[in-house]
Symmetry: C2
Subunit: 230 residues, 2 copies
DNA sequence: TCTTCGAATTGAACGAGTTCAAAAATCAAT
DNA sequence: ATTGATTTTTGAACTCGTTCAATTCGAAGA
């Protein structure tokens, strides 16, 4: 009784304020960028006191975390739609990567900060951190689906670690995208085209006996990487 | 006449103050880490006014740049010594990577910030930026030497782009090292062992006709990457 | 020696993120 | 409806990076 009422109270009043603050923040971030957006400006436009913003978000950085999960949600629908229709591995991977870029594109303006904080081991926003585990797990699962649902043969040794490696790959692409100031983000798309091509070629070649030592070595490596960050 | 006198004046007085500030800063960074070190604290221990620190270093971040070149200098001697003695490619690459880690190890405490700022496209510390071009060029040249002086056959197609790719690789290792909190940085060394193994295997395999499409694709990719950041 | 000009130095002041004690609002229980 | 506790809200105050106008210092030229 006490519990539920408290919960609903928290939701109706608190959550509403929280939502307003977050919406306002993202709005301002898109308008002016991150550094240029003041906590005072957020509070003012949201119609709350400065301190109140800190009641809901421990720091300015913590606002970014909310942004993360939003992006993640927005990606789910188009990704699943693609994976249900397209059986060709190359097209699946290519499509997913394009979706990744398209969904995050409106925020390119403040993407620098996104990775700046993400690269800091101490930051909770760090994609390897405890705190981002849920999103990370879902994201890796998506790459597992890319492989599973395809009509290509993937060597069974790779089944285990490849999704994680693809997730790492997508982080690399994101890093490139952040630095990419070309028109229409042309360079990033080009990079995706080329790297996906290589990846699919390599995945195909992996079954070749000649590649066995490399394959084994790469798998040991992937396993290490994964446990190091876990 | 005027020139030389001015120069020497700049050196004797200004440069000395500059040096004191930098030394003090690095000292404090090692002691307490970056975030915890105040510009006021640096100025105070260095025995100068706050504003004076800003006369020599445009910002707190710019102190890191000085750190970069110091690290780079410290790496030169042991690297060249190794490359003169050791002809085996695997051992050369392994040795260089170990030197990279060993020289930067005392600063692990504030390494997070190092990459945090480095990942920001706007930051002058960004390793892809205009401002870090000289150090980057030298660093890539070192990896070229690793290849050139070895007794392994490196496919001629690779000569052009491979040094750059190895530099990128060393950036990746550094990123891992930053996040590595294992005893004696054991995980980083293990990762180096495994990745160097794979790299040397791949470099060897690259001459195989079967690998031709992958090799060609990888080279196109490397060329793109390089021009994108230049 | 005196003047002059640029380099070096100073410290007050500003802006922005963050903290915190106190006030206000909300809600459960009597 | 009143009380008491808990959540929410407030805004002043603090810290720290950064800027800048003013001052001091040092040396070259008269």
């Amino acid at each position: 009784m006490k519990e539920t009422k408290k919960e609903s109270a928290k939701t109706s009043k608190g959550e509403q304020t929280r939502a307003v603050i977050l919406e306002t923040a993202l709005e301002l971030f898109r308008e002016r960028g991150y550094e240029e957006t003041t906590m005072r400006a957020i509070a003012e436009r949201a119609g709350v006191a400065l301190g109140n913003a800190y009641y809901y978000f421990r720091s300015k950085e913590h606002l970014i975390q909310a942004f993360y999960s939003r992006i993640h949600e927005e990606r789910q629908a188009p990704s699943l739609e693609l994976l249900n229709k397209e059986p060709d591995l190359m097209k699946r991977l290519l499509g997913i990567m394009y979706i990744m870029v398209e969904t995050i594109e409106p925020y390119h303006r403040f993407a620098g900060v996104l990775f700046r904080t993400a690269a800091d081991p101490k930051s909770p926003l760090n994609p390897f951190s405890e705190e981002s585990e849920p999103t990370r797990r879902e994201s890796i699962a998506l790459f597992a689906q890319v492989l599973e649902g395809s009509d290509s043969k993937v060597h069974k040794d790779l089944k285990q670690e490849l999704p994680y490696l693809l997730w790492l790959y997508h982080m690399g692409i994101t890093l490139f995208w952040i630095h990419d100031s070309s028109a229409g983000r042309a360079r990033t798309y080009k990079l995706i085209d080329r790297t996906v091509d290589i990846l699919v070629k390599l995945i195909g070649l992996a079954s070749n006996p000649l590649m066995r030592p490399v394959r084994k070595a790469a798998l040991r490596l992937a396993a290490d990487l994964r446990t190091a960050s876990a």
